[in-house]
Symmetry: C2
């Protein structure tokens, strides 16, 4: 067993070595002319300043939570929380640092053509992806190694170590809610505000240097899409490892001790596969299928992972075993099959998301066509596409649950989730490529680089839109599986604490919990939308004010006050994020203790169980409909910019800008933040078990 953990740690270190080498290569790339460096410097400065203030604010909240955890649940959980929070924050900060250095190098590389620009942008993404996966595996495996009892058959010691790991996952998830939300409000406040005044009122193109919001928009891409997403995937990955290990410890530690470290080793070999995958992103001269070049890396990493899973499964698992509380016998190959289902699901998410958000298929085309009838039809069409886009993922998730459960029971579902998320490194590489390309495109336009260069960066940017949507679908899709694992952890933990309960839908406490849980994503979404609306409205007023007070900005004789806009947004985003971010922390406490008080001891736990499922049921729909709808609106606008449905001078374009702005609030603020919100609700409930 210890060997397995050490192997996982070595794989995590391999990821960090890859990161170090690649960063060296990246920094060695040319940085372009002075104007480009100046713009990139402004972005870097704004992003650092924002992240520092955000960190300060989160630290205060985090320390309070840590003290509470240490007091009620012991020092090991408190320290775990600290490690998770620090690693998550570090992942976000380093992701930002890489991104703001890769952006101008990508723009400069675009002078040499598409292939070179893709290499630089993707390498930047790969650094971020493997950094996050490496840090997560390092944290979970390392802290487990530090806490695990030397005697592997010491069941109580094992479970104590695993409980402390919940603290680590919780630290990551809580930071992730703040980072996702704060970054999202920042980036979309700038984007929406800038688009509304710039594009809609003054007919500037996106990234026109005359818009005072343009630098803030780039800063936002970095702190939201890059740092926020890195923190999000850190928590998603770390939490899945912890939840699966915990389930292993709770359900059948004795009959198959290898199950606890099995997820760590799966994660380890997938990192190796992901590193190999990064070398397969290649474009032949003349080939412009960027997305399929990127998808190649995913496919290779996935197939290679599965091949490596075979010996790992053979070495770590007994040939057959049964769950502690059941008499059905599962084989090790059933578990491997469940892992295969997880990998397959991650690939299917890519295909479906592409279908709903790419301009090549009818959903986006339908929105573009609806734009011709005006603003409202555009919005209605996009809302319909988003809601419709929930069907295929939900059907697939249900199929995956059915398959994984048939093969290896609830542990099969946990392994499917782990396998799906073991690809975090390569998936995040594709995602982080997006904001780098977006920034590069912004720099190329602001620095007035040549038309062919801008065409290259714009092409990368459009693909980045799809990969960003894919990763959000991937994160929330995996959340559905992980939530079931956490629910199983919760019920098993209750049973282990001497309170075995059946969460029957017939019981009113379960139903009430279900509804209150279902309310969380809705209320959170509403608060997040309101927050971004407020931030965007401030930005609109600021941009209008600058245009009014400095008439020279629009004819190019005066420079807008970029820094003022960044500063305004920093304050607005941090202020607006507080209340929504508290919701997932407070709601389970209120429901659990409230229902206990109202309906008696059991009712508290029953309502909490209902709440866990309720949150993921509506959470999945809210998140998918928002991220898919948002991506579709965005690419519908891009398709009209490219000359369809009347092109940029038409009224259809104005309507498409409206759709895109609504989609921005959907896909980059409220939607993706639902993922960590679900996790925080789940983890708070899990941590409450000893107190119920």
């Amino acid at each position: 067993m210890t060997l397995g953990v050490i192997f996982a740690l070595l794989c995590a270190l391999a990821a960090l070595v890859y990161v170090a080498f690649s960063t060296g290569w990246l920094f060695w790339q040319p940085q372009g002319n002075e104007r480009m460096r100046e713009i990139a410097g402004a972005i870097q400065q704004g992003a650092s300043a924002y992240l520092k203030r955000q960190s300060l604010m989160i630290s205060v909240a985090g320390l309070l939570v840590m003290v509470a955890l240490t007091h009620w649940l012991g020092l090991e959980t408190g320290v775990g929380f600290l490690i998770g929070a620090l690693l998550s924050g570090t992942a976000g900060y380093l992701a930002m640092s890489v991104s703001v250095r890769a952006n101008l190098r990508t723009a400069e590389a675009a002078r040499s053509g598409l292939e070179m620009a893709l290499q630089v942008a993707f390498r930047g993404g790969a650094i971020i992806g493997l950094l996050v996966a490496g840090l997560a595996l390092l944290g979970v495996a390392g802290y487990y190694l530090a806490l695990a009892p030397s005697d592997p058959s010491d069941l109580a010691g094992q479970q104590q170590a695993l409980r402390a790991l919940i603290g680590l996952a919780f630290g990551g998830s809580l930071i992730s809610v703040f980072a996702r939300l704060g970054g999202g409000i920042f980036t979309k406040g700038a984007d929406i505000g800038g688009d509304l005044v710039g594009e809609a009122e003054n007919r500037l193109v996106e990234n026109d240097p005359r818009s005072p919001a343009v630098v803030a928009d780039q800063v936002g891409d970095t702190v939201g899409d890059c740092a926020g997403m890195a923190a999000d995937l850190f928590e998603t990955y770390a939490l899945t490892l912890v939840a699966t290990m915990l389930l292993g410890g709770l359900v059948f530690c004795e009959s198959a001790p290898g199950v606890i470290v099995y997820p760590l080793v799966l994660g380890g070999v997938s990192i190796l596969a992901s590193i190999v995958g990064t070398f397969f992103v290649k474009l032949e001269p003349g080939d412009t299928r960027i997305l399929s070049a990127l998808a190649n890396a995913w496919t290779i990493a996935g197939v290679l992972s599965f091949i490596l899973f075979v010996p790992v499964t053979w070495l770590l698992l007994p040939s057959s075993f049964s769950l502690a509380d059941g008499d059905v016998l599962f084989s090790r190959w059933g578990v491997l099959g469940a892992a295969g289902i997880g990998l397959l699901l991650s690939g299917l998410v890519l295909v479906i998301t592409e279908y709903y958000t790419s301009a090549d298929y009818w959903p986006v085309r339908g929105i573009a066509r609806a734009s011709d009838s005006g603003h409202a039809p555009t919005v209605i069409a996009g809302l319909a596409v988003g809601m419709k886009a929930t069907a295929a993922p939900v059907l697939m998730i249900c199929a995956a649950i059915w398959g994984a459960y048939a093969l290896a029971g609830i542990y099969g579902i946990a392994i499917a989730a782990t396998a799906m998320l073991s690809l975090t490194g390569i998936v995040l590489a594709l995602d982080a490529f997006g904001p780098i390309a977006d920034n590069a495109s912004g720099i190329a336009e602001m620095a007035a680089m040549d038309e062919p260069v801008r065409r290259v960066t714009a092409a990368l940017d459009a693909v980045g839109n799809t990969t960003k949507a894919v990763t959000k679908g991937y994160a929330i899709g995996s959340a559905a599986l992980v939530a079931l694992v956490l629910f199983a952890d919760f019920t098993h933990a209750l049973a282990a604490a001497g309170e075995p309960l059946v969460f029957a839908l017939e019981h009113p406490a379960v139903l009430i919990g279900l509804w209150l849980g279902a309310l969380v994503p809705y209320l959170f979404g509403a608060l997040a939308m309101e927050a971004v609306g407020n931030a965007a409205a401030k930005m609109v007023r600021e941009v209008r004010r600058q245009f009014r007070e400095r008439p020279g900005i629009l004819n190019g004789s005066e420079r807008p006050d970029h820094a003022g806009a960044v500063d305004l947004l920093t304050k607005a985003a941090l202020k607006e994020m507080i209340i929504p971010a508290m919701l997932p922390l407070v709601a389970p406490l209120a429901v659990g203790f409230g229902m206990q008080w109202l309906m008696g001891d059991e009712a508290g736990a029953l309502a909490l169980g209902g709440m866990l499922i309720g949150t993921i049921v509506t959470g999945l729909f809210v998140a998918i409909s928002m991220t898919a709808g948002g991506g579709a609106w965005d690419n519908a606008k891009k398709s009209i910019e490219a000359g369809n449905v009347g092109g940029m001078d038409s009224n259809a374009y104005q309507a498409a800008v409206t759709g895109d702005a609504v989609g921005d609030a959907y896909k980059d603020v409220a939607g993706p933040a639902v993922n960590p919100v679900i996790k925080v609700v789940n983890l708070v409930a899990l941590l409450m078990v000893p107190l119920l």
Copy 2:
């Protein structure tokens, strides 16, 4: 027992006598000048033509379903279906007939001032309300009387009679899905299409006779808001009676035989109370608080109902009894308390809906303010308000579940739902007042009546917007309770059929069912939004074409082709409604039989149970967020029309028109139709029990 049924039938007849007398009074009111009669005639003609074609289409689908029901479940169920379908269709058709005659009489009465116009419009509404409540009670009580065994202790005979009543409820619900959806697509296709070209592109005011869509819009108000809503509340009310009777029969027929007819008698006395309530809608000269005059009728009907519930409870229920499958003893006063909770809940819905949709409070004001920043902030603000508006109703529903369950177990929840819906007569009176006032306002503007007259009808119309939103909240809020009752019916029916199951959240079949059920409202909402988008786009093209081909329309020298627009929409609405309307019928069949085939016998029933709860969990959120958000957008637009945030010449007004149009699709098509969709899914599942 038979006495109770006969008493309920007499109350239903009393409602129909009230309807007959009031209709006589209404028809006797002056009809105004020739131009008004001409316009009203056009509306009437269009509405009749639409409803006839809709009925023909539904008949085909309905006959197929009836044959299937008769074949698999027996003649009594099939005949019940036919009765329910016919009564629901009749209720819708008569509601339309009353509405198209009350509209111009209201406009004419507005010459004598607000009080007289209110009397005429409200009396029209009261006719529709009591007609629907009377027909529903007549159908359920009458068919029960025809089928019930002469020996009240014949348990098997009782249950067979009650099962046939499910057929009646199913008939009503299925017609209601079609009527809600078809009428909604029609009315909002006209409204959105007309607004976009008329108001946004050509700056016409609403109801400008130069818009080719204006008559279609009035026809739509009649067939959607009036006939559709009548069918909707018919099914809501009839179904609740049936579900509660069924539960009474299943859980404790022997110990308290009165429980089966108890809901019928509650419904009966509430009809008497509602009739009394209608006489308390009065405005003193100079008083303009229309909403509080209307709310008076509701309050009086509610309080009087509760007073009448006391002797009914004392006469029909034993002093204490326990559920068949439990040992907790409940008192008759506990049941009365649950009924009180239901009445209270219906009042709270009014207050909350008013808060979220009236221009006096911050949600609507916030949207109006956001309009100043542009189209997208308006949409974002409205989406946020809609999502936020789910919180209070959900909390209250949870509180009601808790309270009613504590007082009288699951039967308490059923009685709370019955009491809440026993006010259907008066609630629908307030609602149906809305489209009548809307139509009157349209006629007054199209017939160019004097400014003071138009001010009166406009004031009534604005209040109608809020009452329409209230009724939708009422219908969907009650649906949450009724769905739980239907779920209990389902589990008890399974137990009675020898397959007692525990619907534990730990079971993957339950979870899969939960997710697939949760998908239904989302997918249905998406399809409905798409349908209304398509219909509106056709309307936009038609209106643009008429303006282009007949340039005289805009300067008033040529009349637009109103009938052409009506005809176009009739075809579009009927075509677009087919696929979404099939969804709630097909989904439970697919899930039940599909899961049975995949995972074995039990799994089919478990998944179906999960589906029932999943549908209502997301259904509640989808419906409330859509109806509240839509109402808020509508009144935000009205508030800007009244001169706030820049008034009608501002860009804010354009943005508000966009918000209103998105809200139209939300609040009048997708949102309210979710209510019958949930019921159909539930009823299909219930009817499937013998086949599983």
